[in-house]
Symmetry: C2
Subunit: 408 residues, 2 copies
C-alpha cells in the first residue's frame, strides 16, 4: 500500500476552520439517493448532525435520515430554505443548476464542493478542456455538430464515442457510434432536442480503474488505493481494491493525478476519477465530486469510509486514514441489481445464509430490473485468492437477480 503522505501533491494538514462554537456542525446533503443514505450512516458515528434534501419521503436516504427536508434540487427557494438550516451543504449528485449554486454561495452558504468546481462535472466539454490544459492525459475530443466533425475526432475510424455536453436525452448521455450512419442518427436526435454533443476517440483500454481522493478546505489531501472497476452496459458491476497486479508506478501516478486535479479544480470533499488503463498509459474518463460507486468498498475495506471522509472534508475536519483495513488483502464489491421479482426478502435471507462473511448493503429501494438496489462487500485476508472472493461476491449478486435475463 502507498503511504498517502508520500504521494506528490498531498498537502499537509493546514489550519482548521472551526465550523461550530459548541455543538456539532450541521451538514446538509442535497439529493436523497443511496449515496446520501450511506453518508447518513457515517454521520451517526461522526456525531455531526446530518440533513438531507430529498424529492420524496420514499427516497433511499429519506427512509433512514432523521432530519429530512422534502423539496426539489431544481428550485432555488427549496435549496435556500434547506441551506438556511445547515452550516455547510454538499451533494449526492451533480444535477443542481449552476446558477442556483452561485446564488447560494453569494447568499453566504458554504457550498462544498463549490460552483467553480462542480461546473466541470456538469459540462463535459469544459472538463475535458480544463484537464487537457492542465496536461492531464484525456482521450482526443472536440465539440461536434456535423458528421464531418465526428469523423475528424475519429480520424476516419469507428467506433467514435458521442457524449451530451450536459445532461442527455432518453435517460442516456453517452453513445458509442459504430458507424457513420449510427453517428448521424445520434446527431439528428440530439439536434432535434437541442442537446449539444461532443465526440471522443474510442479508447481500446486494457481495463478501467478509479482513483478516489479527498481534499479539505485547509488543503489536506488523502488518496485511497487505486481500484479496478468492471462495467456492463455502462453500469458498474464490480470493484476490486486494490486493482490486482497494477504496476506500482502507475498506481502512484493515478493517485498523484487525482490529487493534482482536486487541487487545480479546488475540489472540497471527495473527487473520484474514472480512468482508462491503456497500452499508452492512463487516460481520464470521467470525474465525480462526491462519494462514488467505485468507493463503496471503503465502508468495510478501508480505515475511513468514503462517506465519513467526504463529511470530514466538507467540514474541514482532519481527514481519516485511507489505508486498507486489511493490509495485503483484497476487497471485492459487487452491485446488487434488481430482477423482475420485487419480493427479494427470501433471496436476501438465502444470500446471508449461504455466506455469513458477506456484508450486504440494501438501499431501501424497490427492486426493478437493472436498478441498483444495494451492494455486497467481501474483505479478504492477506494473500487470499482473489478468484474465490469474486466468486462469493458474484454469487450473492446473481442470486438476488435470479429469474431475470442475465441473473446467472
Amino acid at each position: 500500500m502507498l503511504d498517502p503522505s508520500k504521494i506528490p501533491g498531498t498537502a499537509p494538514a493546514g489550519p482548521i476552520h472551526r465550523l461550530s462554537r459548541v455543538g456539532m456542525p450541521v451538514v446538509g446533503m442535497v439529493g436523497g439517493g443511496q449515496l446520501a443514505r450511506m453518508t447518513a450512516a457515517a454521520a451517526v458515528g461522526l456525531g455531526t448532525t446530518f440533513r438531507v434534501l430529498a424529492q420524496a419521503p420514499s427516497e433511499s436516504a429519506a427512509l433512514v435520515t432523521h432530519d429530512v427536508a422534502i423539496g426539489s434540487h431544481l428550485s432555488l427557494p427549496d435549496l435556500a430554505g434547506f441551506a438556511a438550516g445547515c452550516d455547510v451543504i454538499t451533494f449526492d449528485h451533480e444535477h443542481v443548476p449552476a446558477d442556483h449554486l452561485l446564488a447560494l454561495e453569494k447568499a453566504g452558504t458554504l457550498v462544498r464542493p463549490g460552483p467553480g468546481s462542480l461546473r466541470y462535472t456538469q459540462d463535459k466539454l469544459s472538463m475535458r478542456a480544463r484537464l487537457a490544459a492542465l496536461g492531464v492525459p484525456v482521450p482526443r475530443f472536440a465539440p461536434v455538430s456535423s458528421l464531418a466533425d465526428v469523423a475528424e475526432v475519429g480520424r476516419g475510424e469507428w467506433p467514435v464515442v458521442l457524449k451530451a455536453i450536459s445532461g442527455g436525452y432518453d435517460g442516456k448521455g453517452v453513445w458509442v457510434a459504430s458507424s457513420a450512419a449510427e453517428a448521424a442518427e445520434v446527431l439528428a436526435a440530439a439536434a432535434a432536442r437541442g442537446v449539444a454533443l461532443m465526440a471522443e476517440e474510442f479508447v481500446p483500454f486494457i481495463r478501467e480503474l478509479a482513483a478516489l481522493v479527498a481534499r479539505s478546505p485547509s488543503g489536506q489531501g488523502a488518496a485511497y488505493p487505486i481500484v479496478a472497476t468492471m462495467q456492463v452496459d455502462g453500469i458498474c458491476r464490480e470493484v476490486i481494491a486494490p486493482a490486482p497486479g497494477l504496476n506500482r508506478e502507475l498506481a502512484i501516478e493515478a493517485q498523484a493525478m487525482a490529487l493534482r486535479i482536486a487541487s487545480a479544480l479546488d475540489v472540497l470533499g471527495l473527487l473520484a476519477v474514472e480512468l482508462f488503463e491503456t497500452p499508452r498509459g492512463l487516460l481520464v474518463n470521467e470525474l465525480a465530486m462526491r462519494p462514488h460507486n467505485s468507493g463503496h468498498w471503503t465502508i468495510e475495506g478501508a480505515r475511513t469510509s468514503q462517506f465519513e471522509q467526504h463529511l470530514r472534508a466538507v467540514l474541514d475536519l482532519p481527514l481519516g486514514s485511507p489505508a486498507p483495513a486489511v493490509l495485503g488483502g483484497y476487497t471485492v464489491m459487487a452491485n446488487l441489481l434488481g430482477g423482475t421479482d420485487p419480493d427479494i426478502y427470501d433471496r436476501y435471507i438465502h444470500v446471508m445464509a449461504a455466506d455469513p462473511g458477506v456484508k450486504v448493503h440494501f438501499y431501501g429501494k424497490e427492486a426493478r430490473p437493472g436498478r441498483k438496489i444495494g451492494h455486497v462487500t467481501i474483505v479478504g485476508a492477506p494473500g487470499q485468492d482473489i478468484t474465490s472472493l469474486r466468486d462469493r461476491a458474484r454469487r450473492a449478486a446473481s442470486y438476488l437477480r435470479w429469474g431475470t435475463e442475465d441473473g446467472d
Copy 2:
C-alpha cells in the same frame, strides 16, 4: 480464532421464519440511548426499517433515527402503541417492567428477547439461582436481610459485595462493603427504601472478561472472540479483543458457556456475559441481553458488528460471521467520558488530527463529567504491538477529558 461451528452448544441454522411478505420487516427498539443509536446505523446497511421508542427527542438514538416515537418504557399504552407499528420489538436496556413485557407478548407482539429471558437481567437473585442450577460457576451468593446473613456469605471475611436484587437506590445497585459497619449501613439504607438485597463473596479476580454471543429463534448461534474489559469505578474504560494471552481452552469454555446460557435461558438476540477470570477458573458476574459496551469493538473489529448481529438475530435472519476483521490482530476500544468542559469540538478536531487511524464514535450526548459520550476504536495489524494500540486509544480518550480530575 475459534470457529463458532466447532463450539459445543452452537446449533446449526434451523428453519428461517420469514417476518415480511414483500417489504423489509420493521424492528422497534425500546430505549433511545447510544446502543439504539448504533443499532440505527447498522439497520441502514441491513435495509430493514428501524424504529426507536425514546423518552425525549434529545436522546442519543432519537437524534439520528428516522422513525422515532416519543414515550415512556414504563407506560404500557406507550409500549403497545409503539409495538403496533413493528414486526418485532427489542431493547436498548433492561428497564421495561416485566408485567408490561408479558402483556405485550400476550397481545401478540414478538418480544425478543422475551419476558421469560429478560427477567434474569432484572432480578439478580433469580439469575444467580438459575445459573447455579445450570451448573454455571458463579460467586457464592444469598439473599440477605441481616448482618448475620452477610457475614455468612463472606464466611467472616471482608469485603463482601452487596447488590440490589432489582434496581437500586441513589443511582447505584452494587456496593463493596469492606467491613461489618459498612455492610450495616447499606442494609439500613436499603431497608429504609424497601430495596431487597443479596450478598456475594468478593472474588479476587485476575481480570475481567466478556463473552458475547447471538442466538436466533431458529436456534442458530454465533460466538464472538472473548475480550478483556478494564473497569474503573464500575465504568468500562477499555476493551481489548481478543483478550491478550488468554488460554485457548479457557476461551472456548467461555464461549461455550455463553452459548449454553443463551440456549438455556432462551435468549433471542445478543447475550453478553461478564466474567471473572480467577485462579480457580471462570465465574459469571453479570448478564445483558442486548448490545453491550464490551462489544463496541465489533463495529470495525469484526466481520459483523454486534448491532447488525442483534438485528439479524431478533429478525431470525441468518447470523453474520463473528470472526475478527483482521485475523491475528488486536482491536482496542476505549470509552470517551465527558469532562468539565461541555465544548468538545476543538478536542474532537485534535483527536482526529493527531491520529488519522483512530475511529471516533460520538453519541450526540452533552459532555458531563464521567458520562459516556462516545468511544474510539483502533484495529491493529496482525502481530502489531498491543501497547502502542492501547496508548493511541487512551491518548484519544484522555485528550477529550482534558482538564478534569483524572483526564491525564
